[in-house]
Structures are given as structure tokens and as C-alpha cells.
């Protein structure tokens, strides 16, 4: 019997970076694509700068478990390089990692940045993005999150129109200009992934 697989996305970052809001966009986009989807989050003290992580599971079959096992995620989206390393073991052997290079170093014992980047580069299927540079180019301070979402979108069964719809809805209240900026960042991210193997 061929049972449809359960897919998983792990999102990680630091409190205040918008991990949970990215997770909600993913959840909504997958749901609108006709899939069963669940999201779980650990956000006890998120606004106070601790590690935050969320998981999104999706499948063609109904889901009841909101958490993934180690080796159960197809995709890891990390808004911070150290917070990416924390969850690498959650990825399947052929899973992908999209990660922002800009570090949040306001903590004790942050390892040397070069070591962090080197460790990330050993992960097969890792895609690093220089979010600081991207933000400068797009003249949009918070472009990073949306760009990562754009990169992630290359590995997910969601149509372009659905992404645009969900993003537009998310920023509706903040006006047309903010929506446009975010769509621009999303597209910039999409442009960074050329070979979406295993999509």
C-alpha cells in the first residue's frame, strides 16, 4: 500500500525575528493549496530574545501529530545561522536548508562566525543568503524573512498566485507599499534558488 508521505518544515530563529509569523504564512499557503496542515510552536518567552522555533507539517492525509521527529523535516528555514545549526539533525538526508547569514550575537559564548558558516556549508542542500546585503539592495530593513520564504517556496507545492495572495493578505493592514516591498523581497528570494531538486 502506498501511503502519502508526511512532510515537515522546521523554522528557527530568535525572539522578535518573526519566526511565528513566517510559520503562519506557510501554514495558510499550504492549506489553501488543498493540503492538510498543522503548525506547532514553542514561544514561551519569544519577545525576550530566546531561541524560538516552529514546525509545519503537511500531507494529503489528515494529520494529528503537530511535531516532527529528528530526520523528519524536508526543509529547514532559519532566520539566524546559529539557530540553523541547532536543528540540522531534524532534516531528512535529502532535505534542504535555507538560512540567513546575518547573526544575532547578543548571547554568551557565540562561536566564531567563520566556524558557524563553515559548519553550515558542510550541510548538503544548504542555501545561505546574505540578508544584510539583500536588505540594503532592496532598501527594506526586514527583507530577510520574506526572502527566505521566497527561497523556501521553491521546495513547496504551492502555486505562485497562492503565495502572492497569502502575503498580500498578511500585510494588507499595513498598506500597499509595505505589501509591495514584501512581495519584492519574496521574489528576490525565489530568484536565489535555481535547482529545486526534490521539490
Amino acid at each position: 500500500m502506498n501511503v502519502p508521505r508526511i512532510h515537515g518544515i522546521v523554522l528557527s530563529g530568535v525572539g522578535g525575528q518573526g519566526v511565528l509569523s513566517l510559520a503562519q504564512i506557510l501554514l495558510e499557503a499550504l492549506r489553501r493549496s488543498g493540503l492538510h496542515a498543522l503548525q506547532s510552536e514553542i514561544h514561551g518567552m519569544s519577545q525576550r530574545g530566546g531561541s524560538v522555533h516552529a514546525q509545519v507539517c503537511y500531507s494529503e492525509i489528515p494529520l494529528t501529530s503537530p511535531i516532527l521527529d529528528e530526520g523528519g523535516a524536508d526543509l529547514l528555514v532559519a532566520l539566524e545561522p546559529l539557530e540553523a545549526l541547532r536543528y540540522v539533525s531534524m532534516l531528512r538526508m535529502n532535505g534542504h536548508l535555507v538560512v540567513a547569514e546575518e547573526p544575532q550575537m547578543d548571547m554568551a559564548g557565540y562561536p566564531p562566525l567563520d566556524d558557524v558558516y563553515a559548519a553550515l556549508k558542510t550541510v548538503r542542500g544548504a542555501h545561505l543568503v546574505d540578508t544584510e546585503d539583500l536588505a540594503r539592495r532592496l532598501n527594506h530593513r526586514q527583507a530577510g524573512g520574506m526572502a527566505l520564504l521566497g527561497m523556501a517556496s521553491k521546495f513547496l507545492p504551492v502555486a505562485d498566485a497562492v503565495w502572492h495572495e497569502v502575503i498580500a493578505q498578511r500585510f494588507e493592514a499595513k498598506g500597499a507599499r509595505v505589501t509591495e516591498k514584501n512581495l519584492e523581497a519574496f521574489e528576490a528570494g525565489r530568484g536565489l534558488i535555481h535547482d529545486p531538486v526534490g521539490a
Partner: protein
């Protein structure tokens, strides 16, 4: 009408309570129960149909408020986290004897794995302890459906019904189908014939206790339809409750061969022993998957007809959350490996004070003042809130954190044992929650205790709910008979540092009780404008009335 939205499990409970026609919701914030109250609060404020949603000073008060509403014939929801139920224990246990009029549902959110709690206690034990029914959903939709059911049960059985969820379900977001909301419908107050039931003087209480015990078979009969026995051909079975049910259900999709295992699926307590017996008759070995305590495991083990495996025999760890991986391990299923983790050591990124938080200034003043009075090694009694973050290195400014309000009483106890100075640090909301009676005792004890009240005007930790003690702290303290020289109000900002150190040092030297209030609003609440309306109203009132 069915309306589909996305909701957290705990929000689904709040939505269901609204849709069940509650007249009021009461609670005290505590992760992961907080958003349940906030969901129903949002609906109630939007509906403007005379319903109320109100945070209470503590969980016991919240429970009493809900009981009062039930007494007058309306449905009510009361929300708290597991350790909050300890605070409400008196009201809760006795409410089993009075019974209810309007349906009363108690949402308790347990926190296995202690994501943001002091302990891992299992509220199912407290349902059993009070002889009350407990429903345990395992999905977001069940959170909703079971809450509706709980209100019906509560009115049918005339007892409060507990709804127990855990962090993973509370903070799981999924599609939720909602029914049309009912308007609150009052049954009228407790009828004259039943007034004695609600007066728990010993003669009535004895009678009501017998009534409650006699009701148990009915409670069990009402719970039974939610529990089920799924037969299978194997001689090994599984017993599942709560997230155990959710995780096993998922595994079953991935490994259809698991359908051979007979399953006992529990969603409601008390469990009918007949059902357990029927299940045990089919198996030689059972693995029990439940969250927190080995409740089912012990019950099944006592029957002695099958080998029972779980947290007690080491098939699962004794502490911590249940996970899909743990299920796989206990069932001997293979779990795929993930990519190799980095060889780097990854330090923990714990929560810390927000930049510019006034608590930091308050602690710095305290530490310097303790040094100034020659007692830098003083052990400081702390409490529960954002300011608990000071227990971490490098600040390490508090040295005990036990439960809401413990700081003041423990400092008094230590002072009675001879510690001097003896210092307690407590927040304004925690002070209102359970610091008040402790301060009353401190005022009476006649020992050298310094109480620092860190007043940030909100419950900072759980997302800036307004504090019940809002702008009332000095008045409350004075009301305990403290003289002007025993009370100081300080502003915790860097430019006041020297003055603050001197003031705290003076308080530490003061031979009796002294209270230092450090007041500065939480930065997050300022940013979100939580108290803006309140403050504007206060300013307007001040120019028109007394203050001008």
C-alpha cells in the same frame, strides 16, 4: 452554519466556550493557557452582547467568579495553567460538592517538559482527587468539540467539568470548524430547594459528599462514549490518552501494520473499569502512551492480567514530554536518522531581559545596596514573572523561586530564623495574586524584611495583560498600616541609580518591614500601547475631578 478558521488548540477552547453561550470568562494568565482566555475575550468584546471577560487577581478568584456566574444560572469558562489550579484548589475541590447551576468548564493547560513552568504535575490527578470528570482532547478540532460537550455534561451532571490540554496541543495551530454561536441563556439562579447544597457547613457538606460519590457511576457512564476499544489481532496492545492518541494515530497512517494492535483510546475520565477489563482480556502486553503521570498505566497495571509498559518500567522516560520518536522507540519501530549535527558546541540562547527593561536597574540598585550595607552574599527570595530572569548568570540576583507569592512569606520565614537583612523581590501582578496576604503577615511579624515590588504595570511574562494591581500598589501597602518611612517609590532608570542605591540601602538598614516600589512600565507594553486608553481616561478624570 460551519465556519472554518485557523486557531491554536487553546484558542479553539475559547471559541467553543463563546459558541456554547457562556456569559463570562475568567482566568489568570499563565503559559500555555493564556491565549484561550484571550481568544474568548476578543470574541466577547467584539460581540458587545453583555458578556464579560475578565482577568482575575489569581486563579482562585477567577474560579470563584465563575462559580458565582454559574450560581446565577449562566455558563462560565475559567482558565489557568496547571500550577494555577493549585492556587484555585480550595475553590475547585469544594465546587465538586456544591455542584453547578449554569455549566462551568475549567480549562487547565498542563506543561509536560516544563517549557515555561516550575513543575510537571498532571491535572488528571486533580480531577480524580475532586471526583470530577475530565475531558482530554488530542487535536485542535477536539479542543473545540470537547469544550462544547463539556458544557453540556456540566449541566447534565451538575458538576464542573475539567478540560485538560498540554503545551503541544495548546500551541498547535490548525484548521477549526466552528458552529454558530449560542447567545447566553440563563437558567435562573439556584432554586430555593437547592440553596442548602451550596452552603457547605458540615451537615450539608457531608450530604453533598455522599451525593457526589453516588454520582460517580453516572459520570463514568457519560464519559464512556468518548472512550473506545479498537480490537486488533496482536497480543500486544496500546493504551492511549491525549497526545498519545494523536501521535499514535499519525504513526498508524505511516505504518498501517500497527492496526493489528488492539487499542484502548481514552478521551474522558473517569474510565469505566469494564472497558479496561475488556481491553486487557485481548492482550498479554500493553504499552501506555499518555502525557505526564502514569495515570492509565497504574490503573491497568493494578489489574495484573497483562504486562504493562510505559513510564514506570522504563519503556518511556519517567519525565518530560511524549514525542513521536519515543512512541517509535517503545514500539520497536525504526526511526530515520537526520543529517549529522554540527560538530560545533552550540550554547543555549535563553530568554533575557528586553533592552532597557526597568527590572535590570532595580536589581543593579539592590545588588549595590546589599554590598553597601555589608551583606553582598545575602540570599534573595524571588518570585514568578519576567524578573525571574535575574536568577540566571551573570546577574544571579535571586536565589529562590518556588511559587506565586512565595518570595515575601519565605523572606519572613528566613527573617524569623535570624537572616538579616531578609529580602523579597516580587512583581506587581504577583503581588496582587498572592503577595498581599503574605505582606499582611510580614507587617505583623515584626522582623527586618525588605520587600521590593517591581511594578511594570502589566503581567509582562505572559504578554502584557494589565495588572490587577494597576496603579494601586502603594495604596495597598499603606493599607497594611505601613508608615511613610517604611515605603519608598523609586524610578528604575540609570540616571537615578545612585539615589536608588541609597534608598534601597536605607530600606535594608531599616529594622522592621520596609517596602520599596520600583515603578516603570514594561517596554513591550509601552510599545504595544496596552495601557494607552486606561492612561488617557485617568488623565481626563484627573483634570475634571479631584486632582485639579
Amino acid at each position: 452554519m460551519v465556519q472554518s478558521t485557523l486557531a491554536l488548540g487553546v484558542e479553539a477552547v475559547g471559541c467553543a466556550a463563546f459558541d456554547a453561550g457562556i456569559k463570562g470568562a475568567f482566568g489568570y494568565p499563565g503559559t500555555p493557557s493564556t491565549e484561550g482566555f484571550e481568544a474568548v475575550e476578543l470574541l466577547i468584546h467584539g460581540a458587545q452582547d453583555g458578556r464579560v471577560a475578565q482577568w482575575a487577581a489569581n486563579e482562585k478568584v477567577a474560579y470563584d467568579l465563575a462559580m458565582g456566574m454559574s450560581y446565577s444560572g449562566f455558563r462560565a469558562l475559567v482558565t489557568m495553567k496547571h500550577v494555577g489550579l493549585n492556587v484555585a484548589m480550595d475553590a475547585y475541590a469544594n465546587s465538586a460538592l456544591t455542584g453547578v447551576r449554569g455549566g462551568l468548564v475549567l480549562l487547565v493547560a498542563d506543561d509536560p517538559g516544563m517549557h515555561s513552568s516550575q513543575n510537571e504535575q498532571d491535572s488528571r490527578r486533580l480531577a480524580e482527587f475532586a471526583w470530577l470528570p475530565c475531558l482530554e482532547p488530542s487535536t485542535v478540532q477536539e479542543c473545540y468539540d470537547f469544550t462544547l460537550r463539556a458544557f453540556e455534561l456540566s449541566e447534565a451532571l451538575q458538576v464542573p467539568v475539567m478540560l485538560r490540554i498540554v503545551t503541544r496541543l495548546a500551541h498547535c495551530r490548525a484548521a477549526l470548524a466552528r458552529r454558530a454561536a449560542l447567545a447566553p441563556a440563563g437558567l435562573g439562579p439556584v432554586p430555593a430547594s437547592a440553596i442548602q447544597d451550596w452552603v457547605l457547613i458540615p451537615a450539608n457538606a457531608r450530604r453533598r459528599y455522599v451525593d457526589l460519590l453516588e454520582k460517580q457511576p453516572r459520570l463514568m457512564a457519560e464519559a464512556t462514549p468518548l472512550n473506545r476499544l479498537v480490537p486488533g489481532s496482536a497480543r500486544r496492545g496500546v493504551a492511549l490518552s491525549g497526545m498519545g492518541r494523536a501521535y499514535f494515530g499519525q504513526l498508524l497512517h505511516e505504518n498501517p501494520a500497527l492496526a493489528d494492535l488492539p487499542r484502548l483510546e481514552i478521551a474522558a475520565y473517569p474510565v469505566d473499569p469494564g472497558l479496561e477489563q475488556a481491553f486487557l482480556a485481548q492482550v498479554d502486553e500493553v504499552v501506555v502512551f499518555e502525557e505526564d503521570y502514569p495515570v492509565l498505566e497504574e490503573r491497568l497495571g493494578l489489574r495484573g492480567t497483562a504486562k504493562v509498559r510505559g513510564r514506570l518500567d522504563g519503556a518511556l522516560p519517567r519525565t518530560g514530554e511524549l514525542t513521536p520518536r519515543l512512541l517509535k522507540g517503545a514500539l520497536g519501530l525504526e526511526a530515520p536518522a537526520g543529517k549529522a549535527a554540527a560538530a560545533l558546541e552550540l550554547p543555549i540562547r535563553g530568554p533575557r531581559f528586553c533592552d532597557g527593561c526597568g527590572h535590570v536597574d532595580a536589581y543593579e540598585a539592590l545588588q549595590e545596596a546589599l554590598a553597601q550595607v555589608g551583606a553582598p552574599e545575602t540570599r534573595v527570595f524571588g518570585d514568578i514573572g519576567c524578573y525571574t530572569l535575574a536568577a540566571q548568570e551573570p546577574m544571579a540576583a535571586i536565589h529562590a523561586v518556588v511559587e506565586m507569592g512565595a518570595s515575601i512569606s519565605m523572606a519572613v520565614g528566613a527573617a524569623l530564623a535570624g537572616q538579616t537583612p531578609s529580602v523579597a523581590v516580587i512583581g506587581d501582578s504577583t503581588f496582587g495574586h498572592s503577595g498581599l496576604p503574605a505582606l499582611l503577615t510580614a507587617a505583623d511579624a515584626g522582623v527586618n524584611v525588605t520587600v521590593m515590588i517591581l511594578d511594570n504595570r502589566v503581567v509582562g511574562m505572559t504578554g502584557q495583560q494589565p495588572s490587577q494591581a494597576l496603579d494601586q500598589v502603594e495604596r495597598m501597602v499603606r493599607g497594611m498600616g505601613l508608615q511613610e518611612d517604611q515605603l519608598q517609590v523609586l524610578l528604575p532608570v540609570p540616571r537615578q541609580h545612585d539615589a536608588n542605591v541609597a534608598a534601597v540601602a536605607a530600606a535594608l538598614r531599616h529594622p522592621g518591614l520596609s517596602v520599596v516600589v520600583f515603578r516603570r512600565e514594561c517596554i513591550q507594553s509601552i510599545r504595544r500601547g496596552v495601557l494607552k486608553d486606561h492612561d488617557r481616561q485617568e488623565r481626563e478624570r484627573c483634570t475634571t475631578e479631584v486632582c485639579s
